[in-house]
């Protein structure tokens, strides 16, 4: 899997030393962040287009850090931030002619690159894209290709590059790596990528069916009391650091005007969802619906950002 033409540094991450005495001197166990939002309440999104002048379209997206994170940052008790919030930049280059060697294409050829900055996650990422980054790129491509009207731009290519400056954590930093090790943070990252890329594509004036936005919903089991009776609940736009146990999560790319999903990625056990008695839906359907609701929320921000960029160009 490694690039054989380059000599890479040793794999694995580095982390700052944390001394046990430092831990003890603080308030004992570091505080776990708690979700203070309503289950259906989304984090605030900052989205702005046209920040990178050399690209034909660009956007910058940031999620609002959770309340506890903001508090911890202003008053640090540990060397490690308790949680992180997504920040990413998206650039669109094109439509530009395909290279001579490429075969004829009646459609716009889309290529997507998703790259974590080396410092984006707690564990350092190398400069070469790893499997998870390629995987994200494929998901993003699927999401966008459904929205773009590709035959309007025959024989041309469109490059979409996303740099993740700060990634979401997969779990609370204080938990052991095996507490829940599925990469839940990646799903938030994907949702952010979709929303940002959609804004950048609109900024580049590429024909789209609709603005496509990403949304995440998850089934979270109530963490504080370990009683088995507490069935997992549906939450929108989860911050994985705020939850002890995430059972399953789902990310969608959604076009509200057509009520269609262009990308769906669901994983985990969704069979034990606690739904209302009269709710005829199964767990996974509820998850998808939840993710669609989250995407609808993101879409309002997206539409506003695109409108703003148009207004700026007139001003």
């Amino acid at each position: 899997m490694a690039d054989r033409r380059r000599i890479n540094g040793p794999p694995g991450g580095t982390r700052p030393p944390v001394f046990a005495s430092l831990q003890e001197s603080s308030t004992g166990i570091a505080n776990r962040a708690q979700r203070q939002r309503q289950p259906a309440e989304l984090r605030k999104i900052f989205l702005k287009t046209g920040l990178i002048p050399t690209a034909s379209g660009s956007s910058y997206l940031e999620f609002e850090p959770s309340v506890s994170l903001a508090a911890a940052r202003s008053n640090p008790k540990s060397l490690i931030p308790p949680s992180s919030a997504l920040k990413l930049a998206c650039t669109v280059h094109g439509p530009k002619p395909l290279p001579r060697s490429a075969a004829f294409s009646p459609n716009l050829v889309l290529t997507t690159h998703v790259k974590y900055a080396p410092f984006a996650a707690r564990k350092r990422k190398g400069h070469i894209r790893d499997a998870s980054e390629r995987d994200l790129g494929v998901h993003l491509e699927t999401a966008l290709r459904g929205a773009i009207i590709a035959e309007r731009w025959p024989k041309s290519g469109l490059d979409i590059t996303i740099t993740i400056i700060e990634a979401e954590d997969d779990r609370w930093w204080g938990d052991a790596p095996d507490s829940h090790d599925a990469s839940w943070g990646m799903m938030n990252v994907l949702a952010g990528c979709i929303t940002a890329a959609s804004a950048a594509i609109a900024d580049a004036h590429i024909d789209c069916l609709d603005l496509v936005s990403g949304g995440v919903a998850a089934l979270v089991s109530d963490d504080s009391n370990q009683s088995a009776s507490s069935a997992p609940r549906l939450m929108l736009d989860i911050d994985p650091a705020e939850h002890r146990s995430i059972l399953s999560a789902c990310v969608v790319a959604y076009m509200p005007a057509r009520d269609e999903i262009t990308e769906l990625w669901l994983k985990g056990d969704s069979s034990r969802a606690a739904l209302e008695k009269d709710d005829g839906r199964t767990g996974h359907e509820a998850l998808i619906d939840g993710a669609v609701d989250a995407a609808r929320g993101a879409n309002t921000v997206l539409a506003e950002a695109v409108r703003e960029s148009i207004a700026r160009s007139f001003a």
Partner: protein, 383 residues
């Protein structure tokens, strides 16, 4: 055929003419009774031949071949590896409790160790693809995801061994674990999207995988029984005591990932290359049978980019400049939205939620395709 592959797409776009695509789409979207090019029913799989334990150098292996000659071989190898405790994060709770007595930590065997998903490594080799191309990466992530994600739900006796799912089974003790390498080899360039083939083969290979019997106990450095006959199955079997003639039943089975497409109102399984090319939506759905219950459990869904979005549109006769009497100005905006009967239009947009729900239901439902596939796999004799 090098131009069949887009730079980063996970799906392949076969060269098909608009007329063929239109013919296929209409045939497959005929209400109630789609006509597949090879005459199969919508839920019918291509017949395949399977065998297990074919590679003596592996812990488990399987081979599946389709009648058209495409074959996949999967070899599973296990290695003992030292668990790096809290390599990634700081276990602050134990720190807080024990202060400087960090070195005593190893003795507290009480807390159950659960496995890590990273202990399962999967690599897929497809001829004609680089190992960092989108297709192999996407496929291996997809299959690994459902594999490490599956956790047994039941409380049966045998299920206890699989408490943490596959990754829990890999734990030897607090300091040691198994690392599982699943290497998938496709023997020829895929004639269709290779997911079902690879998934079924991996399933059988894992069922046949054996790990040496552990002789050490507790937190000692592990040592194993060198008698291979005493080795234990990675996925435990329950009725060893019963007669040998009965097929062994597994309390926990590895997941299978099925490829499902929707065309018009129809849901079609195990699509071949041409059928995927006209699909409205392509989903990869992973299911497994959960321990005690008879129902199937959904593990993951991933949408796959339908190649139909990249196809060439057909030109309706009314707009064709080569048609007699058609003097329509070619400068006129082409790609009109209206559908003309018999003219291929590349699919646009996404898929409705109701369609997704229907596709999942066909897999999961009682007596659904998922059950039948798992039953079929149970019928395969695993030595």
């Amino acid at each position: 055929m090098s131009n069949q592959r887009q730079a980063s797409s996970a799906s392949q776009v076969p060269h098909l003419s608009p007329a063929e695509l239109s013919y296929l789409y209409t045939s497959l979207s005929l209400p109630k009774n789609p006509i597949r090019p090879d005459g199969r029913s919508p839920t019918q799989f291509r017949p395949l031949s399977a065998e297990t334990t074919i590679l003596p150098g592996t812990n488990g292996s399987a081979r599946i071949g389709f009648a058209d000659g495409t074959q996949a071989i999967v070899g599973v190898k296990a290695e003992v590896e030292k668990t790096v405790l809290a390599a990634d994060t700081l276990d602050s709770r134990s720190l807080a409790q024990h202060g400087d007595a960090l070195n005593r930590e190893g003795e507290q065997g009480s807390a159950a160790v659960s496995g890590q998903g990273e202990w399962v490594q999967m690599s897929i080799e497809i001829p004609g693809f680089r190992d960092d191309d989108a297709l192999p990466v996407f496929l291996s992530e997809m299959m690994r995801e459902s594999l490490v994600g599956s956790v047994a739900g039941g409380n049966g006796d045998a299920v206890k061994e699989m408490a943490g799912g596959l990754k829990g089974r890999l734990v030897i003790n607090k300091r040691w674990h198994w690392r599982l390498y699943i290497d998938v080899l496709l023997l020829s360039q895929p004639l269709a999207y290779p997911l079902p083939l690879l998934s079924l083969t991996t399933h059988l290979a894992l069922l046949s995988t054996k790990l040496p019997k552990l002789k050490s106990t507790g937190e000692e450095d592990p040592f194993f029984d060198d008698d291979w006959a005493a080795a234990e199955y990675l996925y435990p079997r329950s009725n060893i005591s019963k007669s040998l003639s009965a097929a062994p039943s597994y309390p926990v089975r590895p997941p299978v990932t099925l490829l499902v497409i929707s065309v018009g109102d129809n849901v079609i399984f195990d699509p071949n290359r041409e059928e995927i090319a006209v699909a409205d939506a392509v989903l990869a759905i992973s299911v497994t049978r959960s321990g005690d219950s008879e129902t199937l459990k959904l593990l993951s869904i991933r949408s796959i980019d339908p190649p139909s979005r990249l196809t060439q549109p057909g030109i309706p006769n009314s707009e064709n400049v080569n048609m007699l009497g058609a003097t329509a100005a070619p400068g006129e905006e082409t790609g009109g939205q209206e559908e003309v009967e018999g003219v291929w239009r590349p699919r646009r947009g996404g898929v409705k939620r109701s369609v997704i729900a229907r596709m999942v239901k066909t897999v999961l439902g009682k007596g659904g395709v998922g059950e039948e596939v798992l039953e079929g796999l149970e019928g395969v004799e695993v030595q």
